[in-house]
Amino acid sequence: MDITRRTFARGFAAGAALTLAGTAFGAEPAPAMRVIPSSGEKIPAMGLGSWITFNVGDDPALRDECADVIAAFFASGGRVIDSSPMYGSSQPVIGYGLKKLGLPQALFSAEKVWTSSVDGGRAQIEQTRNFWGVPRFDLLQVHNLVAWEAHLETLFAMKAQGQVRYVGITTSEGRRHDLFEEIMRTQPLDFVQLTYNPIDREAEERLLPLAAERGIAVIVNRPFQQGELTQRLAGETLPEWAAELAVTSWAQFILKFILAHPAVTVIIPATTRVDHVRENVAAASGPLPDKGLREKMAAHIQAL
């Protein structure tokens, strides 16, 4: 996708306004907001993933740590939390954290259906809803395109009945992009979720431009390659020119690279640490790189 100066400016207008407003009142800068094309609703551009990090089983101490992360996420201005039945105990752990907070009204709940059973979708969604303790989900996605035709039919029916607000599909690590593209072209999707970061840029070729063209919101998963990317960069110093982006860590550097793509709506980094969740949300405020600087960022990371 060719990122023109105009699309770049339009994409970040809302976020910039909100950031300035937050700063003016002396509070923590609020995360930039992005528009869901199918509805016009605005949501914060930084979400919270739960892959591995929230799968802590029945461990009471680790459950409380996860609840602290969720609390810090909302306190920083975050709203979108994403999970899946595939993620072990992550769903009940999220439910535990939300219950401790009294089910924050700001929550934008994003879940998935993940079963090869064509008839088992609704039952799984209901179980998931009970885990979260929410009246309904904001977004339901077909996880990794498993039994996608049947599940999309179920999800669109649920949307028509007001049982879910948005419908989407997911993939990760660049898998099944051909089928993913076909579904994006033929189905009235509100959201797609895919992997995108300075190393894994395959989505730039077809999926991100198609999402922009079709008015589909994009959730980006695995921004840090499950931590491998940030671990690899841990011993490296940020380049001096990164100062113009007001970043303090490689994580923020990567998140700003992703967020600066105009087709991206929300990133969902996962973490077990309160300081990291604050740092991630903070990356969604302040300056973002233009096209030239993005290329420089990607080239710099790939060279390290």
Binding site: I52, T53, N55, V56, G57, D58, D59, A61, L62, M86, Y87, G88, S89, E173, G174, R175, R176, Q226, T272
Partner: protein
């Protein structure tokens, strides 16, 4: 699963190393001091194997059956499955192993026989499960509260079971190998995916068991022939 070749082992790891080892801490805290009893039972089985007393194989198999049920239910089904949904499908295999051990006990299908090198290899393997495993936290700089103890945690239980089976002959001996062997491979790969240096212990133990069995079978020694009571001279 399509495009299965694009998946790495790491893609199937649903939890962090921290959560994995915390699981053992919580499990140990819940079951202490049962560890003393299970460890004593394990040492008793090893003693029975060394003494080759009449009915020792059946008694050992019965004790092992009870411990496989305990580990399969309390650790795999009740705890591990909470962070790894695939364990729901693995836990019944522990029940099946317990059933096989119980049948072996009832039918006298397991007889200790220490005449052969494989049997002594088996006793060393059993020692790894009984003695080395609880000490691993000290070797790998983990809290001692994460210790894996025979009869409480799956790896030392599987290791010691394989050791005992290697020490025995009888028509059930070979039937008792696949499940603990498969578990050790699964556990070793899980630990390896977590970059845990301990991963080599279950994998090497599995390799030692297979080698021991291969040597025994290659020499036409009685890995499968039924025997009863103390061997005749």
């Amino acid at each position: 699963m399509s495009e299965w070749w694009t998946y790495r082992l790491g893609d199937f790891l649903l939890f962090s190393p921290r959560v994995y080892w915390r699981m053992f801490e919580l499990h140990n805290a819940q079951f202490w001091p049962l560890h003393l009893l299970t460890l004593a039972a394990g040492l008793a089985i090893a003693w029975l194997a060394l003494r080759q007393m009449r009915g020792a194989g059946s008694l050992a198999a019965l004790i092992l059956a009870a411990l496989w049920i305990l580990v399969g239910w309390s650790f795999l089904w009740d705890r591990y499955a909470a962070i790894n949904w695939a364990i729901v499908y693995v836990a019944p295999a522990f029940g099946l192993e317990a059933l096989l051990l119980a049948i072996a006990a009832a039918r006298g299908g397991l007889v200790f026989d220490k005449r052969y090198l494989a049997a002594w290899t088996g006793l060393m393997v059993a020692a790894v499960g009984l003695i080395l495993y609880p000490l691993l936290p000290f070797l790998f700089a983990r809290p001692w509260t994460t210790a894996e103890v025979f009869g409480i945690a799956p790896d030392p239980t599987a290791v010691a079971t394989l050791g005992m089976v290697l020490t025995a002959s009888g028509r059930f001996a070979l039937l008792l190998v696949p499940i603990p062997l498969a578990w050790l491979l699964l556990s070793g790969l899980t630990l390896n995916t977590m970059d845990d240096p301990q991963s080599w212990i279950p994998l090497l133990t599995a390799a030692a068991t297979v080698t021991g069995l291969a040597v025994r079978l290659g020499r036409g020694l009685p890995a499968t022939r039924a025997r009863s009571g103390r061997r005749r001279r």
